[in-house]
């Protein structure tokens, strides 16, 4: 249950929502995507989301869930093409423009060689790219990522976030993500929002938010924050 959360994301920003388990990070994202009911208002580009059709919403935001359902037997190319659903006619077929948009998404994520492969034959990292490819094919200006790194190893976590960072540089992409890893959130996001027990308790730049006191207060964890050579890291400190 979220209570009284007020948040605005500026165009081109990368905002990461962090907070302890059960704080409501995923719920916040899902409310923004219109997947859960809420009291209050969600505005996309000034328009009230509840007044928009699902198609209209899908043209403005692309949502990457925590555990996407990858239909067995579907090929990567077809899966990425699903991202064009909001652009094709209601019963219509993909136009040349749609095929090109999907082709661009495949190319940007280095999925060309995998386009004919079936989803279940891909590795975890490749599947992640396929899901991102589908989101990119939507060509929506806002990308919502729900826990994009939760089931990945440290190498893949970095690759995924580097990918999003590069995509953001290449095109106008605004990113709102929910993350549990404070260090990664601090390293990649422009702004952090801290949710705790459904309430927004802090907001600011990574330098402001990544502090031992704040983390102790909201997470109940003992950490020290290391800032070296322009990189921030939150390091857990064990009790001796």
């Amino acid at each position: 249950m979220l209570d009284g959360v007020d948040l605005a994301v500026a165009e081109g920003e990368w905002v990461a929502v962090i907070g302890p388990n059960g704080a409501g990070k995923s719920t916040l994202l899902r409310a923004a995507a219109g997947l859960v009911s809420y009291a209050g208002s969600v505005r996309l580009d000034g328009d009230e989301a509840s007044a928009l059709s699902r198609r209209a919403i899908a043209r403005r935001l692309a949502f990457v869930p925590q555990a996407p359902l990858l239909p067995a037997g579907m090929r990567v190319g077809e899966y990425v093409l699903l991202g064009r659903t909001a652009h094709v006619g209601p019963f219509g077929y993909e136009s040349a423009g749609d095929l090109e948009a999907a082709g661009r998404a495949l190319a940007r994520l280095d999925l060309d060689a995998l386009a004919r492969r079936r989803l279940q034959t891909l590795s975890g990292g490749e599947q992640q790219r396929a899901v991102l490819g589908r989101a990119l094919a939507q060509e929506a200006p806002l990308l919502l990522l729900d826990e994009p790194t939760s089931s990945l190893d440290i190498g893949r976590q970095q690759q995924a976030l580097e990918l999003v960072a590069t995509l953001r540089e290449q095109g106008d992409l605004t990113v709102l993500c929910a993350m549990h890893d404070i260090t990664l959130a601090a390293q990649y996001a422009d702004r952090l929002l801290v949710l705790s027990a459904g309430r927004l308790v802090a907001a600011g730049t990574p330098e402001e938010i990544a502090s031992a006191e704040l983390i102790a207060e909201h997470y109940g964890a003992r950490v020290k924050v290391v800032a070296e050579g322009g990189t921030l890291a939150v390091v857990p400190v064990r009790r001796q």
């Binding site: 219109g34 935001l61 949502f63 067995a72 037997g73 077809e78 082709g103 190319a107 940007r108 060309d112």
Partner: protein, 358 residues
């Protein structure tokens, strides 16, 4: 291993992904359909030669100058008995398979078909009521098909209303469970009525077993408009069903109005199924095994599965009907027995080979 995203410049030739193409499999299935129709027309106890039938057919084509050698009796057998039967089997088999495939797509469950949501139980109850309480009226106007159609529609309406009123209205499994509940209830009512009218048991039973045994084109024309409309609407939703494969939430964020699509498919698939059940009784297994078979043979994309199910379902039922009327000739097997004969072992094979059950 570099996984950085590559910027794509304007001049790059981008390899385009290709959506599943249905043309070749559809042509193949159409050929199968043609063969089945010919078998259905040529085979029968009257022993009319195939070439005579072809000549007779061509004699109706103007300007060809071909004359038929068939006697009027034989001609009537072919065009008033066999041809309507074949046409009805095509309509019924095609509609049942198409409706089954569309239900499977919209509920993301390979084992559902409209029967599960109450079409069978509702139609059975409607037919039972018509047979037991309105016996005199069945001859003056077609009460039996109307009652069966109304019963089928009522069954699904009850199941759908119950299903969407539950807390987990967005969960397709809730609808399936609601269907099971309604089916149990309607079957109980039907059994009660049957017990009160035991002399009608045989008539009810033989209706329920299903048959495409029809004389004249009346039944075909009765069901045709419903089947045509339902088929067109369902086929227009092929792509959307592929999108639904990623789950309700993801499909919604991709731009699909999931509740509206689900309702549309349920309504039209039910109308089509109710119409064919009204004229041919409850022929089982077609709605499940035909789409399944198509999926195993060709792949899971509904763009291909749906049109193929329509064609293969029609062919399948035509061939089952041929078996039904030749295997124990001059008696006829109820067609439901033939479809069950193929359906049950098919299920066993699917269970054994299906990865999802491991």
């Amino acid at each position: 291993m570099s996984l950085a995203a590559r910027p794509v410049e304007g001049g790059d030739s981008v390899r385009l992904p290709s959506p599943p193409r249905a043309l070749l499999p559809v042509l193949g299935a159409a050929a199968l359909l043609l063969v089945s129709v010919l078998v259905g027309l040529f085979v029968g106890p009257a022993g009319i030669g195939a070439s005579s039938i072809v000549r007779d057919a061509l004699s109706h084509v103007p300007l060809l100058g071909i004359h038929s050698h068939l006697s009027s009796t034989d001609s009537a057998i072919v065009w008033q008995l066999r041809a309507p039967r074949v046409a009805l089997a095509l309509l019924v088999g095609g509609m049942l398979a198409l409706a089954g495939g569309s239900y499977q797509g919209v509920f993301r469950n390979p084992l559902v078909d409209p029967y599960l949501l109450g079409v069978a139980a509702g139609a059975g109850l409607g037919a039972t009521i018509a047979i037991c309480y309105a016996n005199g009226a069945t001859s003056s106007y077609d009460l039996l098909p109307i009652a069966a159609f109304a019963g089928a529609a009522l069954g699904v309406t009850l199941a759908y209303t119950l299903g969407v009123s539950t807390a987990s209205a967005s969960n397709p499994a809730a609808l399936v469970l609601a269907g099971v509940t309604i089916v149990a209830f309607l079957t109980a009512v039907q059994t009660f009525i049957q017990q009160q009218h035991q002399q009608s048991l045989q008539e009810i039973y033989s209706w329920i077993l299903g048959s495409v045994d029809t004389a004249g084109w009346h039944d075909v024309l009765l069901a045709l408009p419903y089947v045509a409309v339902a088929s067109v609407v369902i086929l227009l939703h092929r792509r959307v069903l592929d999108v639904l494969a990623v789950g309700d939430d993801e499909a919604a964020t991709l731009g699909v109005n999931v509740r509206r699509v689900r309702l549309t498919i349920v309504v039209f698939a039910t109308i089509g199924t109710a119409a064919v059940v009204a004229v041919s009784g409850l022929i089982g297994f077609v709605g499940i095994i035909v789409p399944h078979f198509v999926r195993l043979a060709i792949g899971s994309s509904y763009r291909i599965v749906l049109p193929l199910s329509l064609l293969v379902g029609g062919s399948f039922l035509v061939l089952c009907d041929v078996l039904a009327r030749t295997v124990v000739s001059p008696e006829e097997l109820p067609i439901g027995v033939v479809t069950a004969f193929f359906g049950a072992p098919f299920f066993a094979v699917v269970l054994r080979t299906s990865r999802s059950f491991r």
